[in-house]
């Protein structure tokens, strides 16, 4: 019963729209599809989308884990407010975030004007895209890692200390390895979100073809040109790459979860 409901729901919500996509691109025929998919502008857009999403997810893993640690282990005034702020990127319309970030990082913005003399350009470059994706992806890492961190007993750290481990050894050999499955989940979610992100990126990216144009934007451009086959081809390629990457991450995660016995 539960399985039936789950499957029907998955088919209705995810599989039917996606198979429509696959079906539309299969109508193109392999050679047309391949030509569209390997078009230089398309390849660059895909490279930028996946590259920036990957970079942003990495940044989020580092700082998200630190932020989660501070929220779990430290007590400070205003902690609840900081905790609530983490979720803001979930709720804020992404266009608002994009415009705010662009205003800050534009060469005449608060932060942009400080970076400009150093020769660092953020807005209207791939770096700007990474910053926007870091913003939207942060809560995914924090919120997946946080509950697992709360589960870590202070006693595990004390046990490491009694065995002679210094702080660095305790963190690198005991605490972080124990968090691996959760960190991977957070990474996967932030990465997936980054690949599909549109609203916040288009404002800060500048959208220069071959340089800072992301794949979702290119799809919209093709649609506006009524070039449906090209739009479908890009979408299909994104779908396949995303699925393969998420699948691999899921496998790693399931494997480590089984070993470490979380949730048992």
């Amino acid at each position: 019963m539960a399985l039936g409901v789950t499957l029907s729901w998955l088919i209705l919500i995810i599989l039917i729209p996606l198979s429509g996509l696959v079906w539309r691109s299969s109508v193109l025929g392999w050679s047309t599809f391949w030509a569209l998919a390997t078009d230089e502008r398309t390849v660059n857009a895909l490279r930028i989308s996946f590259g920036t999403a990957f970079a942003a997810a990495l940044v989020n893993v580092v700082f998200g884990v630190i932020l989660a640690w501070v929220l779990v282990r430290y007590r400070f005034p205003g902690k609840r407010i900081v905790d609530a702020m983490v979720d803001l990127p979930f709720a804020l319309p992404t266009a608002v975030a994009g415009i705010a970030l662009t205003t800050l990082y534009a060469p005449n913005g608060w932060i942009g004007s400080l970076l400009a003399p150093l020769g660092i350009k953020v807005a209207f470059t791939p770096l700007g895209i990474v910053i926007a994706l870091v913003f939207v992806g942060l809560p995914f890492v924090v919120r997946t890692v946080q509950p697992i961190m709360e589960e870590i007993d202070k006693e595990v750290e004390e046990a490491a200390a009694t065995l002679g481990a210094n702080r660095f050894q305790t963190i690198s050999r005991v605490l972080l390895p124990g968090l691996t499955p959760a960190v991977l989940t957070g990474f996967a979610l932030a990465f997936a979100r980054g690949v599909g992100e549109y609203g916040s990126v288009i404002f800060i990216a500048g959208n220069l073809p071959y340089v800072s144009e992301i794949a979702p934007l290119l799809i919209v451009i093709r649609l506006e040109e009524f070039n449906y086959p090209a739009a479908t081809a890009i979408a299909a390629v994104m779908l396949v790459i995303s699925f393969v990457m998420l699948f691999v991450i899921n496998m790693i995660q399931a494997w480590s979860r089984r070993r470490y016995g979380y949730g048992t």
Partner: protein
Amino acid sequence: MEVRVQNIRKEFGRFPALNDVSLDIRSGELIALLGPSGSGKTTLLRLVAGLETPTDGTIYFGDEDASRKTVQQRNIGFVFQHYALFRHMTVLDNVSFGLKIRPAGRRPSTADIRRRAMELIDLVQLSGLEKRYPAQLSGGQRQRVALARAMAVEPNVLLLDEPFGALDAQVRKELRRWLREIHDRTGHTTIFVTHDQEEALELADRVVVMSKGQIEQVGTPDEIYDAPISPFVFGFIGQSNILPVRVENGQLWIEDRSIGISAPGEDDGDAQLYFRPHDIELLDGSGGCIAGLVTASRRVAGTRHVELDIVASQGKVEIELPPEKTATDRSRIAFRPTRWKLFRN
């Protein structure tokens, strides 16, 4: 290694957890810290480990002042109530951890570490399970891994914090006997904390009874049970009855009746009479005894537990009788404690 605790005081904020505690622990001894929760027993253990810093006082390991050393430098083994195993490591990796993380100069070779860890896994009877992860073990097995891990670093002293507290009764009994065996074989100076008096009395060479941040009594299990030196110890260890009595010319009285116990040398005045339910003799007469009316009677294994309302006063006591002795409701029973102790308020 011998451990000496000298005039230790520990406050958490304003709350005094330990108040001027001194204790000498002999080398190779298995000693229990026993007390109700909040008595400071775990705090004392954690102070010896170096997981807490004393507000005042000194702790010596042998002749060395250990209180200035960090927990890492003290080289102790600590076993936690909830195991605190590293769950991303196998049993073997857990046990080897303390040796593997040593700086290169003091670290045994990889082969030596492995051999030593395997010996310990064998000692705790987990051979064949060294490749398992903690999640794949039972509670009792996990605690044995924790013990092997603690012993791997050749600790100066082995500290166990309610080691069997999270296990069910059957496993607990087994592990208790087994811990005694391991101790006799390895000879580590061992301190363990428990609130279970049966565990402390059965397992330890000496028992330290603690209450409200102070040591009430230190002694062998026999001394603690047979010669408690304070009302707290008498009441906390085993079953006990308390009756208000009066001392007059070396004789004990309840209200206007003499109960046939003489206490030569005791000053006149009010006192509390403490005795255990099984340390009594039944009497037939009506003078020189304590008389009571039966209010309840329960058969517990080989004895009959009888609750009495004392006739002469408002007191209630429970005594243990042979099972063949019947005790019908409201019938009268006269007895006299054979072993007892007086405490003044």
